[in-house]
Symmetry: C2
Subunit: 521 residues, 2 copies
């Protein structure tokens, strides 16, 4: 299906993707400029976040690219199975949590013991997700001028050649961008029906879960588990490490962690730390999980729904096979800061190169590859970045935890709300949009925040927030605290806050900024 000269509207794109999804379109969807005789500067193998943003950037630089994806749309797993459903479910969790706490108060109806349907939420997502896909196909063609082939997997032949639906395309460079998949734990019964990960949940679930056991303590485990519990499905998390103290999450402040994990327990979740899942039990269907608990006891926990949140592994195998590209001991493709692999002319980006498996990284890897392909010697270091996850709250942080700062600096100043020693029950702060109703009904639920400052340089070295509405700001805080001169408490105190602002950092810093020798607040 050659769409080069067509100009599909969003609804036409959506209809096409809908049809492709149910198998009614099985030919490739081709948007290739056959009149352009230039060699491709790069072929992007995989059109997810990294492939699409890399392609856009390369186009913007005046290069020629082709991006190929097996799915009938660009954008990859984020809008199809990962970030977007996660955000939809996390919003549901937040609203359900509010509905439960406010049950029978003000205009809120009685809801304390009501169920919300997980299945219905999944179906809502499934029915709607192609709208975002349609937009990305439309934008990529009409606004960004990209060339692409969709609905057909790319097979890499060599470092310059890719085969798609029987046709070979060559390029100066390849950019590998096929992402990652769940690393399923190697225990008996894991392949039973009734065991899901974030992807198969969205694709396959067809019944209403009534009791959930989650294997693993990743972000996904916390996020989806919080949703299941908020929906009224009793949920147990089995985590080897203390929750939010896993290797894949760095810089988590211990006070923040306690607020979040205790908050999950308060809402009825069972969190078993130091737990080792041994087996998913069941005959034709998963009916429980056998686990060795921290104290050594072995128990079987009942479940009609087992969810795996143990992290992901790169889809690197085909490239090891055909190109011999170097991978690390977890199977992630090894790259330098220019996204160059061990094979000259072959780049790899996104989840395929390992953690952090986050959107900013995938997209900026794509940009980095594009710039280097086009002769700009650009490096991307993603060892530090702002991070977030959801429970029923948004939890966002950047820079150092208080403990990390105390290891590194001799004079650490902490500005936090509630202040140390103040009872959360007595103080409806922090509060702003999203926590106002709590502030006036359950002050202990409004959130928690902390700003960590090196008292000598006066620089903000870490910022941490649990609540609502602060996530967006951390993008800019990350930039500000990591620029060479950093961000001092004095500069914070001179900014213009929009009150009530979710994180109160500017105003709180101003209360201390006048001090020569800073004191915690």
């Amino acid at each position: 299906m050659d769409l080069r000269d067509a100009s599909h509207s969003l609804s036409e794109w959506r209809e096409l993707i809908d049809r492709a999804e149910v198998g009614e379109v099985d030919e490739p969807i081709v948007n290739v400029d056959r009149d352009d005789l230039r060699e491709y500067d790069a072929i992007f193998v995989g059109g997810g976040a990294g492939g699409r943003f890399g392609s856009a950037y390369l186009q913007a630089l005046g290069g020629r690219q082709l991006v190929v994806d097996k799915w009938p749309f660009l954008g990859g797993s984020c809008p199809h199975q990962a970030c977007v459903p996660h955000h939809l479910f996390s919003e549901a969790a937040r609203e359900l949590d509010l509905a439960r706490w406010m049950s029978g108060k003000l205009w809120f109806p009685y809801f304390k013991d009501e169920r919300a349907s997980i299945l219905e939420m999944v179906e809502l997502f499934r029915a709607g997700r192609n709208s975002a896909h349609a937009f990305m196909n439309w934008q990529s063609k009409e606004q960004l001028g990209m060339e692409y082939i969709l609905n057909a997997p790319a097979r890499v032949i060599d470092e310059h050649t890719v085969e798609v639906a029987g046709e070979r395309f060559t390029a100066r460079n390849l950019v590998l961008a096929t992402g990652a998949r769940t690393r399923w734990p190697d225990i008996p019964g894991i392949d039973l029906p009734g065991v899901y990960d974030f992807a198969s949940l969205v694709e396959d679930i067809a019944y209403e879960p009534n009791r959930c056991v989650i294997i693993g303590g990743s972000k996904v485990a916390i996020e989806y588990g919080s949703f299941f519990q908020a929906a009224g499905c009793p949920t147990t998390i089995l985590s080897r490490s203390p929750l939010m103290r896993t290797a894949s999450l760095h810089h988590v402040d211990e006070d923040i962690r306690c607020f979040v994990v205790e908050g999950m327990r308060t809402r009825g979740m069972t969190i078993l730390e130091g737990a080792e899942p041994l087996e998913v039990v069941g005959d034709a269907w998963a009916t429980g999980v056998t686990v060795r608990l921290a104290d050594g006891r072995v128990e079987t926990l009942e479940a009609d729904f087992v969810f795996v949140g143990t992290g992901e592994q790169a889809n690197s195998e085909p490239f090891v096979e055909t190109l011999g590209v170097e991978v690390d001991d977890r199977g992630s493709i090894v790259v330098n800061r220019r996204m160059q692999t061990s094979i000259p002319g072959v780049y790899a980006i996104g989840d395929l190169i390992g953690a952090p498996m986050e959107m900013f990284k995938a997209r900026k890897c794509g940009m980095t590859a594009a710039r280097n392909v086009m002769g700009q010697p650009y490096e991307f270091d993603f060892s530090e970045y702002p991070d977030f996850l959801h429970s029923t709250y948004e939890i966002t942080w950047v820079g150092l935890s208080e403990a990390e700062a105390r290891e590194r600096y001799g004079n650490v100043i902490v500005i936090q709300m509630p202040p140390k020693g103040v009872d959360f029950d007595e103080l409806p702060l922090p509060c702003a949009e999203g926590s106002m109703l709590y502030a006036f009904t359950r002050p202990e639920l409004t959130g928690f925040q902390k700003c960590v400052i090196d008292g000598e340089s006066r620089r903000v070295v870490g910022a941490h927030h649990v609540g609502f509405g602060a996530k967006d700001a951390f993008q800019y805080l990350d930039y500000l605290i990591r620029r060479p001169q950093g961000l001092t408490i004095d500069e914070m105190g001179e900014m213009n806050e929009l009150f009530l602002n979710p994180e109160h950092f500017i105003q709180l810093c101003r209360l201390r900024a006048g001090q020569g020798a800073l004191v915690s607040l």
Copy 2:
């Protein structure tokens, strides 16, 4: 009541304020260091946002201050009658709006035609507001080391002397900070029972409004009106100017304005622009408002609740009388950028010096006065700042509107979502926390955003957002775009976004940042 040597807990403070509020404590609450023999560097007359932050800053600088307030708490009108109830009511409006759109879907019960009680929300606020007050009294004494006298008005005797409850205090300087009050329109019937402003609504209302007419088109009118309508109380706004196109709101983008105002109409509000209110009618109680409409017709609109949102005027009269301080034609005290009035040694800050009557300005005025009092020649220019208001959405903006940018620059690039020409019904973007449920049920409701760029310098010159969760970020965007080197699209494109982020600016900028000659998106 001398509390200098007491160390009240938050709950003890709350009890004391509760008692003072109902008249059980009528003596001054005194926290003055009688052992400190230094002269006061400044007495702050009024302990609202400006007086409290100015006092804190002056203390932090090592100066000695006294702050006096007629109310039994510090913090002023913001947590008592203004910003805090506004945010509580705006959160209610947002949740009620969601409840109506989602009525009967998913777990949401039928709600389309239900009422929520405005009175009950006011009572909730009234019952809880003293918690924040208690915290500010506690923090100001225990953490910030401030001296204060509460529950007693200050009378200014001369430029160095203030009398409080019969005792005179002298200081090197005075800082006037007694705020503003509603500028009631001068029409017959305005003093009838049943006519409220934001302050008397919170203090006095004792019945359930069932039909509201709002006189004026200020932020307060839009914010409270959106809440009344969302609660199910049919609401009409009478505004002389087109809504959001008043002199007091600068840099409002026309596309944003249309999205917001049309959104209010979609939700059932009646908005009459070009309307001139002539009279509040009624015998013992307001029963309607007579208005001359834009087409010249005169009509009487029925109402059992009239709300005045026509803006505010400074409480400057006592200072004109006793000090002869210069005021402008609206009665605001005239100050320079150091907050110095026409009287040497007398400063004025906050709402008392006129628009913008915003928290950041009040607090930073306080800081500015404190620094100058303490010999730091510091200037504060608040002619440009980030701004926001609520409908059922958060609306936030900074910098130039698209039209303003086009007047100033020859090559304006606009990056917006939905893109120009795309139907809002077809695109569930922008979306993130707060708009995910809409994205999958009513895509046209998710919001609207725009980034305005000067194509030559590549600098972001304006950013505009309607939706949820972006407000906090605009504090930092304001700082970034107004620093000397500004913020280019290229720098935006290199930031680390937290996806899904409410305003998508970083990722959208990255899609264009590679271009030499920028093109709109």
